[in-house]
């Protein structure tokens, strides 16, 4: 690291960019393994080690690299093979054994056709608006695999925030600069006035991606105009919504884009110090960020007198300690200051009086990641993407009952149908789509009937949900909506800081009512009470957590009213989730009397011998579902 020369001018940056391009696309064979958290969980570390040892043993000059996540989590571990002058190949679901075989194939100039997910002829370089072409003179290999652009999962995506994730080694700033990283910061500092930068962000139409959707440029302007000699920019990386992990993916796969965005923001606002508040549950992201900050400092892209312009700015990391409410700006500030994270009344807004009572501009990771591209390509280009009021793209984590789960970045205004049935390729096991939960515990459930709805801030708010940070949990007929409402309420009840009575006690009572419903002890009055209570919590709470906490209840009561009625009146859970409201039965016609379920039953509630169809003794059954999971013939049913 000591030999890194400070970047002072455009020529210096160009030189690093050339070096970066050589690292990105070397003139030798390069194999990259997706090593973000989800890849690691799927076993990418072993794959990487196998490849690394294999390369050493075979004394090959193959370059082995670790990259971030391409977003196609279902296919992890993903391995990319790039031979100079040939299309880049992406291999899916590579185990250590497969990795060994793949390495042999690569050394023998062969392909493993069956494992190829797709290939890339060229890579789009969003920041500079150009392409990097892998094939010379159109020589590619013929129809061995699908091109990247035609894989359903990637086809409709437009990657701005995730532009580098899965393509670069997050530990190497040169590779980021190789793909025109920090060119936007250079352009801004050397040729733009702060007011002009704010103007650009304003007219790009960028809105806060953390959930609120407040226009970013307006926030910056307020902070710039606020009185104060010392100002802060803060990156909110306390991604607390369960089911959303795009921020983690950006920080693990492309941390520099956040640093560059913050640098631009600090220049525009006039801030001297930046703080990244990151949740402690993301150790890998913290590690990557720390390294990125060190490297940016070594290049002089952070610190005193950046790019010889007189502008100084530095960033430090503050780790959270596991409290969901810290995603709310005022509690985030309290947490940085070392206080219990309780929200305070606004105004004064943080842009006027925030951290240590100084003007503070807080944006979320995804928002910051958009900034460099907007400044590099211009506001008009960015504003050309998306809908009237919601510009640009949004990253969603598409998870739950969906064939292709992963991170998808799509232009605003795309329909849910396109996301679920085209990108996600529908619901597995021939199940029917029931609902899409957006926005985490603050959001609501969109019923399957509204699947043709375009996704943007306004439309989601209209139907009682929110964009939130972009979690999109797909639910099929096996999910009980009352139970989902109960789950989210138990979450928000736990995470309520306890300051406002309506939130603290209201959610407690709401959870009690919902639990009664899922246990079959509720009556119709409870439903009315729950409805009224939810409205009150919404109206009377101070911060975003309490104001939105009843959304899951209200939206499920609105769109799945009959399900509540069947829980309360008929005492039946049609989805077979709420244990007291259904029973397991073995269909004697479907049962082949194989005996597989018998040893798995923890309470010995299954009768029957070999060749004698089995049955469940209802009194003994604890409804653990072990037999349901294991039966190879689907003979165990829920009634």
């Amino acid at each position: 690291m000591n030999n890194m020369k400070k970047i002072r001018s455009g020529q210096d940056l160009d030189a690093v960019q050339r070096a970066g391009l050589e690292k990105l696309y070397p003139d030798r064979v390069k194999i990259s393994v997706g090593m973000a958290s989800c890849g690691l969980a799927a076993g990418a570390r072993k794959v990487f080690d196998t490849l690394s040892q294999g390369i050493k043993q075979r004394q090959s000059n193959i370059v082995l690299a670790a990259t971030g996540c391409l977003g196609f989590c279902r296919m992890e571990p993903l391995v990319t093979v790039h031979r100079p002058g040939k299309p880049k190949q992406v291999y899916a679901n590579i185990s250590p054994d497969k990795a060994e075989a793949l390495l042999d194939a690569v050394l023998n100039e062969q392909d493993k056709e069956d494992w190829i997910l797709c290939h890339l002829d060229r890579e789009e370089l969003i920041v500079s608006g150009t392409h990097h072409t892998h094939t010379c003179n159109g020589h590619g290999q013929a129809a061995l695999s699908k091109p990247y652009q035609e894989v359903p999962f990637f086809k409709k995506q437009q990657k701005i925030v995730l532009r580098n994730c899965g393509f670069i080694d997050a530990d190497d700033i040169d590779e980021y600069i190789g793909r025109s990283g920090y060119s936007a910061l250079m352009k801004v500092i050397s040729s733009m006035k702060p007011e002009y930068v704010i103007d650009q962000v304003k007219s790009s139409g960028l809105r806060g991606r953390g959930g609120g959707g407040f226009p970013t440029g307006v926030k910056w302007e307020l902070c710039r105009k606020a009185e104060g000699d010392y100002k802060y920019v803060v990156c909110n990386a306390d991604e607390g919504d369960p089911g959303a992990y795009m921020d983690r993916s950006v920080l693990e796969g492309d941390p520099h884009t956040v640093l560059e965005g913050m640098g631009i923001g600090a220049y525009a606002i006039g801030a001297r110090e930046g703080i990244i508040y990151i949740r402690t549950e993301y150790p890998l992201a913290i590690e990557k960020l720390k390294r990125a900050i060190e490297q940016a400092r070594a290049y002089g892209l952070l610190g005193e007198n950046i790019l010889n312009s007189g502008f100084s700015f530095d960033i430090r990391i503050v780790e959270g300690a596991g409290a969901f409410v810290c995603g709310e700006e005022t509690s985030l500030i309290a947490s940085i200051e070392g206080r219990p994270a309780e929200p305070v009344t606004r105004p004064p807004f943080p842009v006027q009086s925030g951290l240590w009572e100084k003007p503070t501009n807080i944006n979320n990771v995804e928002t910051w990641a958009n900034v460099p591209v907007i400044l590099a390509r211009g506001a008009d280009w960015y504003a050309g993407i998306g809908t009237d009021k919601s510009k640009g793209t949004k990253v969603f984590s598409l998870v739950g009952a969906i064939t292709n789960s992963g991170l998808v970045e799509v232009p605003m205004g795309i329909t849910l149908n396109e996301i679920i049935h085209e990108i996600g390729e529908g619901i597995p096991r021939q199940k029917k789509l029931k609902a899409i939960q957006t926005g985490g515990p603050s959001g609501g459930c969109v019923p399957a009937s509204l699947v043709d709805m375009p996704v943007d801030y306004e439309r989601l708010a209209e139907i009682g949900s929110i964009m939130g940070s972009g979690g999109m949990v797909v639910m099929d007929e096996d999910n009980c909506m009352v139970d989902i409402a109960r789950y989210f309420t138990s979450f928000t009840r736990e995470e309520s800081c306890g300051k406002c009575t309506s939130c603290r006690d209201g959610l407690d009572v709401a959870l009690h009512l919902l639990t009664r419903m899922t246990e079959g002890q509720a009556d119709t009055e409870d439903m009315d009470l729950l409805d009224e209570l939810s409205q009150t919590i919404k109206d009377a709470s101070q911060c975003g957590l309490g104001k939105t906490a009843p959304n899951p209840i209200l939206s499920t009561m609105k769109y799945f009213h009959e399900e509540y009625v069947s829980h309360v009146k008929d005492k039946k859970c049609t989805a077979g989730v709420c244990k007291p409201l259904f029973a397991y039965e073995i269909d004697p016609d479907a049962c082949k009397a194989c005996g597989k379920c018998k040893p798995d039953c923890p309470v010995a509630a299954i009768t029957g011998e070999k060749k004698v169809p089995h049955a469940i003794i209802a009194e003994k059954c604890t409804k653990c579902g072990a037999c349901y999971d294991i039966c190879p013939f689907d003979a165990v049913t829920k009634v």
């Binding site: 958290s37 799927a42 279902r74 150790p283 300690a321 070392g338």
Partner: protein
């Protein structure tokens, strides 16, 4: 004791006009005695006048104390002596002689309307005298002390250092030991009560010793809809502990975590930060075997 129906003689001096003194003065005055209510500070009411609410009923303190103060001032049997100190008492029960030193007020109480203008222009600010705080001396084992000092030193110049310090201690000791927290309280000059509040507010801190390995079951939405609760039940059954508890042999601590962000591999657990995904049936019990 003077009986109720007997003729009252003499006078009583009540020292200190806090809520107790005020109430005593009123009771005495109403039973027919002349009362001298002595108070060192310029005003009567004491601590209670500064409180918002009183424990445990949560009643408004001012609402209770202020009628009593007004009554004290109005009661002809009570003579209030503010800015006054008792210097000497001689005599015997029934016949005391008290000497009181009264400081000058420089304000004519009869004319003052309490507008407060003089306090704003006065160049000398009134400062409340406080007893110097007696800091408890905390004895730590030399080893623990060194570890703690090392963490404190690391964040000496950081603003808002309490959280990272607690984090460091939690990582170093595996939990937050009480004596270490008391030591930190003295060293950093923050009340133990605040440390306790923070330690109980955030999920990442533990006040009890933990197992050698921590199992965190992801309780995110996706994991939940894909059966994380069943997974949790299996773990609870096997380890015979509930969420947040540690096994008797200190091998495992079981806890839930909000979301590990590995939703496409749901349900997932992490053991000491290592993530295991797609756990079906009894897979999870196999995972544990690798940890001793």
């Amino acid at each position: 004791m003077i009986k109720q129906n007997e003729k009252k003689v003499g006078a009583v001096l009540v020292q200190g006009a806090g809520i107790a003194g005020v109430q005593a003065a009123l009771d005495l005055a109403n039973s027919g005695l002349k009362v001298y209510l002595l108070e060192q500070s310029p005003v009567i009411g004491g601590m209670m006048a500064r409180l918002d609410k009183t424990f445990p009923t949560g009643d408004c303190a001012t609402c209770m104390v202020s009628p009593k103060l007004v009554e004290c001032a109005r009661n002809l049997n009570v003579e209030i002596l503010t800015l006054s100190e008792l210097t000497d008492v001689t005599g015997e029960p029934g016949n005391f002689k008290a000497t009181v030193r009264r400081k000058p007020r420089y304000v004519d109480e009869a004319k003052c309307t309490g507008c407060g203008v003089c306090t704003q222009v006065c160049p000398v600010k009134y400062q409340i005298y406080q007893e110097p705080e007696v800091k408890p001396v905390i004895e730590l084992a030399p080893d623990d002390r060194q570890k703690t000092d090392c963490i404190l030193e690391q964040y000496r110049d950081t603003q808002g250092a309490l959280m990272p310090v607690l984090k460091g201690i939690n990582n170093q000791f595996g939990y937050l030991p009480e004596d270490v927290l008391r030591y930190v309280s003295v060293k950093m000059n923050v009340p133990v009560s605040l440390i306790y509040r923070i330690a109980t507010f955030y999920n990442a801190f533990s006040l009890t010793p933990r197992g050698r390995h921590t199992i965190s079951v992801c309780a995110g939405t996706t994991c939940y809809v894909r059966g994380a609760d069943k997974l949790l039940d299996r773990l609870k059954g096997r380890l015979k502990v509930d969420i947040g508890q540690t096994t008797v042999d200190r091998r495992f601590t079981l806890e839930t975590v909000r979301c590990l962000g590995c939703c496409s591999l749901a349900p997932v657990i992490s053991v000491d930060g290592e993530i295991y995904g797609n756990l079906r049936g009894n897979d999870v019990l196999g995972v544990l075997e690798a940890y001793e």
